[in-house]
Symmetry: C3
Subunit: 243 residues, 3 copies
């Protein structure tokens, strides 16, 4: 799967919906046993959630958007396919979450390609299931610090803290991902799928048991004046940068 939503693969509602449909097709097509998620946008794996979907809209829109974000996570995290992330660009916030939901993460060794949950830097907070994913991946202590400081890890740090599994030269990201895929596909599908579910179900269940409450939390939080103001400031900065 090559993600293509120029210029930065931000996860807009439309793009999320497209991704979900593609993933669902692959999931149900018995000829596919694994997928590699990578980016078609130079230097950017995914810029994460689309702030424009969270700014200046009405509560119904926020709710619809958040439901799609939940859906994407559950789809990738509980996929019966082997899902490998070939991270060929920067991947903050939601882009990082997408990678964390995969079975394996290969990151291109480019100092610009930082990865992490940097929500606090924008004045917002990661929901509990983003937090659970990071705790599961790098441990409680490292996650606590990274989440509070909104740390974005460049490749060497990312490997050391364990937020990615492997760092390789940029031109080997795809080939390495294919080799890793071969290793995972050597395992009998049925046993691998049941084992994956065994390990991941408790984490997924925490959201499944309170999806609506989580949506309402998000809508309430994002609708706050102070948060809308933070997003406004941030979006203005982005505009200036581009300008």
């Amino acid at each position: 799967v090559k993600m293509r939503n120029p210029p930065v693969n931000s996860l807009s509602l439309e793009f999320l919906t497209e991704l979900l449909i593609s993933l669902e097709k692959l999931e149900n097509d018995k000829t596919f046993r694994g997928i590699i998620i990578t980016s078609d946008c130079p230097g950017i794996f995914s810029a994460g959630l689309d702030l424009l979907e969270m700014y200046g809209r009405d509560p119904a829109h926020y709710a619809e958007y958040w439901k799609a974000v939940q859906e994407l996570w559950l789809r990738v995290y509980l996929s019966s396919l082997v899902v490998i992330s070939a991270i060929n660009g920067v991947s903050p916030a939601g882009g990082c979450l997408l990678s964390l939901s995969c079975d394996y993460r290969v990151l291109a060794n480019n100092p610009k390609y930082a990865i992490g949950l940097n929500e606090t830097l924008l004045g917002i907070i990661a929901p509990f299931w983003f937090k659970d994913m990071l705790v599961n991946t790098i441990g409680h202590r490292a996650a606590e610090r990274a989440l509070q400081l909104g740390l974005l890890f460049p490749p060497a740090d990312a490997l050391q803290v364990g937020i990615v599994d492997q760092v390789v030269p940029e031109d080997q990201v795809q080939s390495t991902s294919r080799s890793v895929m071969a290793q995972w596909l050597a395992i009998p599908d049925h046993a691998r799928q049941l084992t994956k579910n065994l390990v991941r179900k408790p984490t997924a269940d925490r959201l499944l048991q309170q999806r609506d409450a989580d949506i309402q939390n998000f809508v309430r939080f994002i609708s706050r004046d102070s948060i809308q103001k933070s997003l406004h400031v941030y979006l203005e900065k982005l505009k200036e940068k581009k300008g």
Copy 2:
């Protein structure tokens, strides 16, 4: 305790029962404060659960067998004695679980002596409490990967991922284990036992609260045609190897 069930110390129902009786005696004999579990079979710590107990038998047998496996785990994991594993051979699957249940693991530095939960390679899956043990020992991320891929770690990797505590030359496994034992016995028994229980009870309780359901799950799973077929294929391969 020297395990001796030639040729590979597989945990047959009979051998499990013997082990349980020995361990119970030691537990109740006030002259013992610690035990070292090691193998009397050259090159093999324990081959793990005995597939012959899981293949071609009736549900009542599967249930009896699984109950004994649970019993051994609970006995070792919650033992009030200091339990050290002197791993002088390969220890896949159930052999690995036995080690993980101890207080400390010393592995002989022989590249053949791999250790891990390799259930998926046989087309079967580890139960949730095997998974819990691995997560507790090497962390969530490393456990997730190791369980899905059925990884068997040779000594250097085993030490790095933390599935064993120490790797020493093969002829020093027993003496090192005795030194470690001396360190653990220097702690007042009562405080050590209560602390051990404090840390381990939540994990043990997850099984204790659903022992019957776990037995029924196992019986249902192992009785499936597809699983019996996988085991058949595997057992035939083993026979060929020996022949």
Copy 3:
């Protein structure tokens, strides 16, 4: 905050109460956004809980004392301020817990300045929330071993196991702590506070849901003849040392 309860900053009931009042003031004073906890007693960060509060008193006193210990932990652990520990001395048991409750730990590189939960060495046991703090910080396996053996980690080991975040030359503990503070204060307060709460609430809730039961447990345990005897032996040893 400079802790000053000579000679060893032991957390007596009186000193705990003073600390709590100071912390509460800082918490409510909007001009403060972060605090650095350090010691004014040479070579000792804090000797931990005051054994004299646990020996030869009546149950009501034990209950009052334990409530104050819980209170201090909850106050520091859930503080909305950035709390950094500048550990300029040895910090066993309760001294270690105090550090573990902070957002970041800087330890002076002096081989005498060991840190850890060494309760078993005194014949007593750490309560479940001390255990939770250590598991959260250094992982389940390392915590299990450290708690059973009552390990006190000198600086190099402390850094490696992750019980502290940074080890620096003794004369740089304060300046390093201030630099770290600047990094944490660069994050918007509101987002950082909500994120901290998100990560820490589940651990704090385990105590909040059973504070009274935890107090009763402590009173029952500490009132036992065998425990009072252990404490007596230990306190006599301390006297001899001083004499």
